[in-house]
C-alpha cells in the first residue's frame, strides 16, 4: 500500500540520531488509517507554517466536564481521518510506574479506539490518547475504567496531580509523594472531573528541594520535601569523598548560608542555619542524608504566564507534617485547601489563578482570607517602603 500523503518535509525529520516522532506517527498509521491523515495535515502545517487545528468544539464523556480535549481539523474533506481528532487524558499512575502487561493494554485501547498514538506523558502528567472520535469516547473511557484507570483533569478544575517518584526509589525523598498524590487525587475526584473553579488549580509533590516535578514554578500548591532536624553525617564517607572531590570548593564554599565547615577532618554543620537546599546532599549522597523529622514546605501561587505573567510559588507553610496528617486522613491539609478554594471562589474572577488573586488583593488580605498568620519565613525581607495602611487598634492591644 502506497503512502496516502506525500510528506517530503516530515521525511527530513526521520533523519538524524535522535528518535523520530515522525517515524512514530507512521508506525501508528500502519495500524490506524485515520493517522495517515494526521501525517498529511502535519505536513501541510510544515508547508504553510501554521497550525491547521480549529479552535472550538467539545468532546467528552457523560457526567464529566473534563478529561477530553476536542480537536477538529480545518480541512475535514482533505483529511477525513482527523475530522475529529480528540485527545483523552488518562490519569497516570503516581510516579509513572507501570508494568508491561498494563502498558500493552493501554496501548491496545489507544489503537482500537484512537489513532494509535499516545503521549507518555502530557506536561501535567496524564497519559494522553490522541485521535479519538466523540462516538467512540464512551467505549474507550469504559475500557480504561475496567483496567482501573480514570480520566484526568482539564479546563477550570483541579488538574491531574503529579509527583516525583519519591520514596519508591529516591533516598532524598522527605515524605511519601506517591501516597499523598494518590490519596488527594482520590479525595478530589469531583473537583477534577467537573470544572467549577475560576481557572485551573494544580497540586504537585516533590520529595525534596531539587523539585524534580518543577512544582514551584508551575503548581498553585507546591509541596516540597524538607526536614526540621539535623543532616545526618557519615564522617567516614565524608573522608572518602575528600579523597576524590574538592569538598571545600565544590560543597562547602557553595553552601548558600555558609553553615558547614571542617573541624580537623570532621565535617560540621550549623543545622539551624541550613535552608535545606540539598546541594551538599546531592554532591555527597553516601555521606549526608536528610534528618529524621521530615515533612514538606507548602508554596502557593506558581503559574505560567497567562493571564498576567508567570509567578513562582511563595513560601506559606515552612513545615507540614505529611505523615502525621495522613494518619488523620489529611484533615489539616484539607481544611487549608478548602479555605483557599473558598476564598478563591468568593473573591477570584474568571481565569484568575490563585497567585494572581494574591497579587490583586494583596498577600496580607489573602492570608487573612485563608486563616494563616504572617511569619518571617514568608518574606525575603520585611517591607522597605513606608506606605502602611494602619488599621484602628483594637482596645487592650
Amino acid at each position: 500500500m502506497g503512502k496516502k500523503h506525500e510528506t517530503p518535509l516530515l521525511d527530513e525529520l526521520k533523519k538524524g540520531k535522535w528518535v523520530s516522532f515522525v517515524r512514530e506517527i507512521e508506525r501508528a498509521a500502519e495500524k490506524s488509517e485515520r493517522t495517515e491523515d494526521l501525517l498529511g495535515q502535519v505536513e501541510q502545517s510544515y508547508r504553510d507554517k501554521v497550525t491547521h487545528w480549529k479552535h472550538g468544539g467539545m468532546a467528552g464523556v457523560k457526567g464529566y466536564g473534563a478529561g477530553m480535549v476536542g480537536r477538529f481539523t480545518e480541512f475535514p474533506d482533505k483529511y477525513p481521518g482527523v475530522k475529529e481528532c480528540h485527545s483523552m487524558r488518562i490519569n497516570q499512575v503516581s510516579g509513572f510506574f507501570y508494568n508491561s502487561d498494563v502498558l500493552r493494554k493501554i496501548a491496545g485501547i489507544a489503537e482500537k479506539h484512537g489513532g494509535g498514538l499516545l503521549n507518555l506523558h502530557g506536561s501535567t502528567g496524564d497519559i494522553q490518547i490522541l485521535g479519538l472520535r466523540q462516538d467512540e469516547a464512551e467505549e474507550a473511557f469504559q475500557a480504561y475504567a475496567e483496567l482501573g484507570f480514570d480520566l484526568g483533569g482539564g479546563g477550570s478544575d483541579l488538574r491531574t496531580p503529579s509527583c516525583c517518584l519519591g520514596q519508591a526509589r529516591c533516598e532524598f525523598a522527605n515524605y511519601d509523594t506517591l501516597k499523598i498524590c494518590y490519596d488527594l487525587t482520590q479525595a478530589y475526584q469531583d473537583e477534577m472531573h467537573r470544572p467549577l473553579f475560576n481557572y485551573k488549580f494544580k497540586f504537585k509533590f516533590s520529595g525534596c528541594a531539587n523539585d524534580c516535578v518543577a512544582s514551584a514554578s508551575r503548581s498553585d500548591m507546591a509541596f516540597i520535601g524538607t526536614w526540621k532536624d539535623s543532616i545526618k553525617i557519615n564522617q567516614d564517607e565524608v573522608k572518602n569523598y575528600v579523597k576524590k572531590l574538592n569538598v571545600q570548593k565544590y560543597v562547602i564554599d557553595k553552601c548558600p548560608t555558609k553553615c558547614m565547615w571542617f573541624e580537623e577532618d570532621n565535617l560540621v554543620i550549623d543545622d539551624p542555619n541550613c535552608v535545606k537546599c540539598m546541594h551538599c546532599i546531592n554532591e555527597m549522597p553516601k555521606a549526608l542524608r536528610p534528618g529524621d523529622e521530615k515533612g514538606a514546605s507548602i508554596l502557593l501561587g506558581a503559574k505560567a504566564p497567562l493571564v498576567t505573567g508567570p509567578r513562582m510559588g511563595m513560601m506559606f507553610i515552612p513545615f507540614y507534617d505529611v505523615l502525621e496528617d495522613s494518619k488523620n486522613n489529611y484533615e489539616w491539609l484539607k481544611q487549608l485547601i478548602s479555605n483557599i478554594w473558598d476564598f478563591w471562589d468568593e473573591y477570584g474572577v474568571t481565569r484568575e489563578r490563585i497567585g494572581e488573586l494574591m497579587q490583586r488583593v494583596g498577600v496580607v488580605t489573602f492570608l487573612e482570607g485563608i486563616g494563616l498568620e504572617p511569619i518571617p519565613e514568608m518574606v525575603d525581607h520585611p517591607r522597605s517602603n513606608p506606605f502602611i495602611k494602619f488599621e484602628d487598634e483594637e482596645e487592650n492591644d
Partner: protein
C-alpha cells in the same frame, strides 16, 4: 461479580493504585534507600539500607509514541526486568533492573531499536515539550520537529556526561507554556507577533464578550458596535500578542505564518540547590519559523551550550555561570544582540533593573 454490577458504568474511580506496579525490590525497600551512584549517562544504581540494589537504565523517548513503540519497550522490560518500567517527568523511559548483568545486553537491544540510553547526570536532559502543529490550535510553531532537530544536534550531550552540570532544555509552542519552560536552563518558546484578528461572523456565536475582555492582561480589548451589532475592538498599540483572548474566544485567531516564530530564553532553574529557583530570561527575541529543521534555533541553542561548556566551572548551572560573569559578557561571548526587547516593560518590570553601581567594565 453479579450481572448488574458488571453492567454498571464505572466513573470517578480515580487513578490506578501505584502499589500494583512497583517491582518487588522497591516494595521491599520503599522509603529505605541509602544512596545512589551514577554508573554512566545511561544507568545508575540505587542502594538500599538492606544492601539490595536497583539498577536503572534510562532511555530517551520522543514523548509522542505509537502503540508499537510501547510494545517494543514492554518486550525489553519482559526480557530484562520482569516487565517493570516507568517514565520520568522529562519523557524518558526507565527500565528497573535487579540484575546488573542485564544492563549491557539491554543497552544493546535499546540501540538496535534506534533509541539512546542517556539523560543521567551532567547531560542535556530530554527536552520537555508541547504538541505544536501535531495537535494544538494555539501554537506559534511545531514542537516535536524543533525538539527533534535540537536533540539530533545535541545527541552526544545526552549519551555522555560532558557538561559542567545538568542542562535542562524545554520547549513550549505558545505563551500558555504547557511545557514547563519558564524555569529551564535553555527555553525555546513559540511567539506570536501580531494582534488577533476578529472574525465578526463567528464572534457572537462562539464568544462571551465580557470574559473575552477580561482575558486580556493589558486591557487592550474593548466592547464596540459595528453595523448595530456588538463586537470587540483591539488596541493594537498595547496588545502584547499573548493569545490569552484566543484561548477563551475562538473567533480571535492570532496565528500568522508570516510573523510567528520562536524566542530563546536562558538561565532558569527550578531546583533550590545552592541558589533560589528563578525564571528563564530572554536572550533572542525572535527567530522565524523555518521548518522542517529550524537551523537558526539549533544554532542558537548550540551557541549557548558551547559558551556554557567553555566558561562554566564544574557544578555551575547556566544561570550560576551567567551571574558570575555578568549578562553583558554573556551577550558578548554569544554574539547575541541586546535590544530594547530585553528590557522588561511589563508588570513589575522595574524589579529586573540594576539598582547599584556594580558593573563589570
Amino acid at each position: 461479580m453479579p450481572e448488574e454490577a458488571k453492567n454498571k458504568r464505572l466513573t470517578d474511580i480515580g487513578p490506578h493504585d501505584f502499589h500494583d506496579y512497583l517491582p518487588p525490590v522497591i516494595k521491599k525497600n520503599y522509603g529505605k534507600w541509602a544512596y545512589h551512584e551514577i554508573l554512566d549517562a545511561g544507568s545508575m544504581v540505587h542502594v538500599a539500607e538492606s544492601g539490595d540494589k536497583l539498577y536503572t537504565v534510562r532511555v530517551g523517548s520522543p514523548r509522542l509514541v505509537s502503540g508499537s513503540f510501547v510494545r517494543d519497550l514492554c518486550d525489553l522490560a519482559d526480557k530484562y526486568c520482569s516487565g517493570y518500567l516507568r517514565f520520568t517527568t522529562r519523557n524518558n523511559v526507565e527500565f528497573l533492573l535487579e540484575d546488573e548483568k542485564n544492563i549491557e545486553p539491554l543497552k544493546q537491544d535499546i540501540a538496535k531499536l534506534g533509541l539512546a540510553a542517556g539523560g543521567i547526570g551532567n547531560v542535556v536532559a530530554n527536552i520537555v515539550h508541547t504538541q505544536g502543529w501535531v495537535h494544538c490550535h494555539t501554537s506559534a510553531s511545531d514542537a516535536s520537529g524543533v525538539v527533534k532537530s535540537v536533540m539530533d544536534d545535541l545527541y552526544e550531550y545526552f549519551v555522555e556526561e560532558k557538561l559542567p552540570a545538568k542542562v535542562r532544555i524545554a520547549f513550549a509552542c505558545c505563551l500558555n507554556m504547557c511545557g514547563s519552560v519558564a524555569s529551564s536552563d535553555i527555553a525555546i518558546l513559540g511567539t506570536h507577533r501580531k494582534p488577533p484578528r476578529i472574525n465578526q461572523e463567528r464572534l457572537l456565536n462562539l464568544c462571551e464578550i465580557p470574559s473575552t475582555i477580561a482575558a486580556c492582561p493589558t486591557n487592550s480589548i474593548r466592547p464596540d458596535t459595528q453595523d448595530g451589532k456588538q463586537t470587540l475592538r483591539i488596541n493594537e498599540e498595547t496588545c502584547v500578542f499573548c493569545g490569552s483572548c484566543y484561548t477563551v474566544c475562538p473567533a480571535m485567531p492570532i496565528a500568522d505564518p508570516a510573523t510567528d516564530g520562536l524566542s530563546i530564553w536562558v538561565g532558569g532553574k527550578v531546583s533550590n540547590a545552592r541558589t533560589k529557583p528563578t525564571f528563564s530570561k530572554l536572550v533572542i527575541p525572535f527567530i522565524p519559523n523555518d521548518p522542517p529543521r529550524w537551523p537558526k534555533v539549533v544554532e542558537a541553542v548550540k551557541t549557548i551550550l558551547d559558551a556554557y561548556k567553555e566558561g562554566a566551572e564544574s557544578g555551575e548551572r547556566v544561570v550560576e555561570w551567567i551571574e558570575r560573569i555578568g549578562w553583558p559578557r554573556f551577550f558578548k561571548i554569544t554574539g547575541f544582540k541586546f535590544t530594547k526587547y530585553h528590557v522588561d516593560d511589563f508588570r513589575l518590570a522595574e524589579t529586573t533593573m540594576n539598582y547599584s553601581s556594580h558593573t563589570r567594565l
